[in-house]
Symmetry: C2
Subunit: 500 residues, 2 copies
């Protein structure tokens, strides 16, 4: 038996165990070529990669060290007596091999793969093998089975409501902060809309990052239930709720590899929404030359796949295929986006029209789920709720309930636009012909968004606007000197605007 | 700047760097989500995964720790001033994404991928993505480009000979130690045959493991050249020669994932042989119900792919498609295989006929490469070289040249069959109908082969033999008590023999 020791080493996503090369209980070298070891006491077991240690000060010969995350995950005190054994490879890897050879998997096989992924029994290499083989081809039945398996292997929220609505945008468009307008409108109408959002992974801001400018987004489950009971809406971070946890593991591999097939997108989005307890869902599919989906054909294929899986998992689904040739709204980055959102909800004359129109259209389509409304009346109802100030009040109540950053004035942002400002100007007289969504996202991130809440871009003109040489196209805001220099240089080199 | 420190932690195949969370030079948390960091001084750079450390005794705030292998690879002394930066992902990952989406890559793209693999700029996850996407489909042109790229990114041996011959078996059949018979026959004839072999990865013995029972196999390049000049043949381990090093990296991912497509097999084998300087190559493709290749159609496809690439890379290629319904020879495991090899070369009456016939056939086909021999005369010439004792003498000279385990008697094995013996007996009267190659390999490994040189199986009958209940089928040899118990129990549960 070995004695458990916590080592002050943070190994990120990976569980690592440490054994002294001078160990007298086990022949350490024997474990060196083993892919994973199982660390066990009489109650629990944890899989980890094994590293060998040659320093008696760091680890005694009969101690077993665990990295910070592994120690926490095992959940047993230092000094516990543990054993290690070679962890056998999970049998579901046979299904991964079959998938690599091009076979469709049955639901039982897919469930076994997903269960092993959630149980951390796959290495990142093995998970990549499954995902890449699945990117090659996945039947609609497999997408359905994958969605179900991802829901079944995590928590599932129950709201005890007849209707629980949600909206989701498949992403890729900077700015575009419609959720923070749609949620208060729908909540003001009285439909429950518990919105769980992500933080930015590759974008300049996720809905959770932007909401955080006004309120706390890390809300425990029991408080969340109260908030929905009273306020009907919320905008919180879903990361700690263990909803479709397989999705998080898969995204952690898909993002760095940079692929995102329609099949994996549908399984990812619908599993999260099913786990979050949605009964009615509006999916927004923006199509544009620099967006995630680039043609109408692609959008139609994606829509049909969403419908196939939604119909068989009991979600009422509506889709919007929208034009996405440029960013929606003027601000890109948390603080600048909040400013746009508040302008729309306050009915300010200078509120960005495109953001206002898109948000009202989406809110209308969500309200159309309400059997109490006359067909097609949603859009007008949404407009009324904004004009009357009811939606703005709903947002204020939601911010108060989640924990406002400024308790005295809940709608006052917790930060201002960052104060180092670089103005990017038109190189010539002409008309703005195109904005490159990918480029503008990259520049906003270079400027520091979303880590620096006030960093990002403030767009001063859009496609179709006439400009003269030297006219400002957008302002770049940064908080840190290094970010400012890097981002300004990059914007001058390639602004993301085409003027001709 | 940080101060370099060597940490006494062995992280296996992975380079790991350690930074204190209290670091004052860098904001440590910023690097936490970065896939890889580049550690640099003014002379050199190393890529590594970054772990954070919370213990000032282990790592000071302005020190950078490196794991054993990373420290060795960087090759700079402790105390060197180094910097860290986020390592940009290698641009060739765009080609991996294109491959995932199903596009054929051009030779330049493939060369860039292979160069980044050899330069350790791919994580195992990224390499798995490339290999799995390639397993989906790879055109013949891509196989050719891959083969060439794998040769170009490593060392290439030059022999200054008109003809340099070799033979290679694609594997999967236990026993089958033909190389140790073919090499001395061909060397006795006078054709240069510098055989570089692998150690066992998933089999009970590789040619290098078996040769090691008689001689050293880790021979430096300059001595190897002398040996070929004088003795014409050698049987050495090729692992340290940096021949097609991309192949080794790829195999390290393919083996645990357990896939091996014809395309990857051809690129792997031909790149190694081209790098080893072979001009003429005989490839043996065993076909059988429990072998790697299971049908004549599959064998024909594989043969044509070998021919396509060999023709375009200037290798003269001959192939043998052979029956492989059962192990070849009686011994499975290093010492037992050496015993069979010596019996054949000595012309002993009880030498295994199947091993003798197969080895003479292969040697004959290799000798047929010699333009000085009359077409088809190779087989008879091979027989003469065995009958005259010339082949046995050639093996003795090769063993002496490589460094004999027993200098006084070079052909005396360095170890005897292991002394714990379990006899597996026929459960019934009848005829031996089938031997399962996979099962018998697994049992030999459980018994301790190839780590324990004397461990393995000694087959006492083959397909077609009539047996009575209780007759011995094979003897299992093990050196260690634990191996013996496990292997004997497994053999009694499923012997690998079908008697009916």
């Amino acid at each position: 038996m070995l004695t458990l020791k916590r080592l002050p080493i943070d190994t990120g996503h990976e569980n690592v165990a440490f054994l002294s090369r001078a160990c007298t209980v086990y022949h350490a070298e024997e474990f060196q070529s083993v892919p994973k070891v199982a660390v066990s006491d009489d109650r629990t077991t944890l899989l980890a990669t094994l590293n060998l240690v040659d320093d008696p000060d760091l680890l005694g010969p009969d101690e077993l060290g665990l990295s910070e995350q592994a120690f926490r995950q095992l959940g047993r005190p230092a000094g516990t007596r543990v054993t290690i054994t070679e962890a056998p490879p999970p049998p579901s890897l046979d299904s991964v091999r079959a998938k690599i050879r091009g076979r469709a998997l049955d639901p039982g096989e897919i469930r076994a793969v997903v269960a092993d992924v959630v149980g951390e029994r796959y290495s990142r290499m093995e998970l990549a093998a499954f995902l890449v083989a699945s990117a090659g081809f996945l039947t609609t039945e497999e997408v359905l089975a994958l969605t179900r398996a991802m829901v079944e292997t995590g928590n599932r929220l129950e709201w005890h409501e007849r209707l629980v609505v949600d909206k989701h945008c498949i992403g890729g468009i900077p700015g575009h902060r419609t959720s923070m307008i749609v949620v208060p409108i729908v909540a003001a109408h009285g439909l429950p809309i518990p919105k769980t959002s992500s933080r930015a992974i590759t974008s300049p801001s996720g809905t959770a990052d932007t909401m955080e400018v006004l309120a706390g987004v890390d809300v425990p489950m029991n408080r969340l239930r109260d908030i929905i009971d009273r306020e009907r809406g919320c905008i919180v971070w879903g990361g700690h709720m263990n909803l479709a946890p397989a999705d998080d593991r898969m995204i952690a591999v898909e993002r760095p590899l940079g692929f995102d097939t329609p099949e994996q997108m549908v399984a990812s989005i619908l599993s999260k929404k099913l786990a979050a307890g949605s009964t009615h869902l509006l999916v927004d599919i923006p199509v544009g030359p620099t967006a995630k989906v680039r043609s109408a054909t692609e959008a139609a294929r994606l829509r049909k796949l969403f419908e196939y899986v939604a119909d068989r998992t009991g979600v009422v689904l509506d889709t919007v295929v929208s034009d996405a040739s440029e960013p929606v709204g003027n601000g890109i980055g948390p603080v600048l986006e909040v400013r746009d959102v508040l302008k729309v909800l306050r009915g300010d004359a200078d509120a960005p029209r495109d953001l206002r129109d898109k948000a009202l259209m989406l809110a209308g389509r969500v309200l159309d789920f309400d059997p109490g409304l006359r067909g097609g009346a949603g859009r007008e109802r949404a407009q009324d709720l904004v004009d009357s100030g009811a939606a703005l009040k709903a947002l204020e109540r939601i911010v108060r309930a989640q924990g406002p950053v400024n308790p005295d004035d809940p709608l006052h942002p917790g930060a201002a636009p960052a104060d180092k400002v670089h103005v990017v100007r038109s190189p010539a007289d002409g008309t703005v012909r195109a904005l490159d969504c990918e480029r503008l996202s990259a520049l906003a991130r270079l400027a520091g968004a979303p880590t620096e809440k006030g960093a990002g871009l403030d767009l001063l003109c859009k496609t179709g606007d006439r400009v003269r040489a030297g006219d400002p196209l957008y302002r770049l805001h940064a908080a840190l000197d290094t970010d400012f220099r890097t981002a300004a240089r990059a914007a001058d080199a390639a602004s993301g605007y085409t003027v001709a």
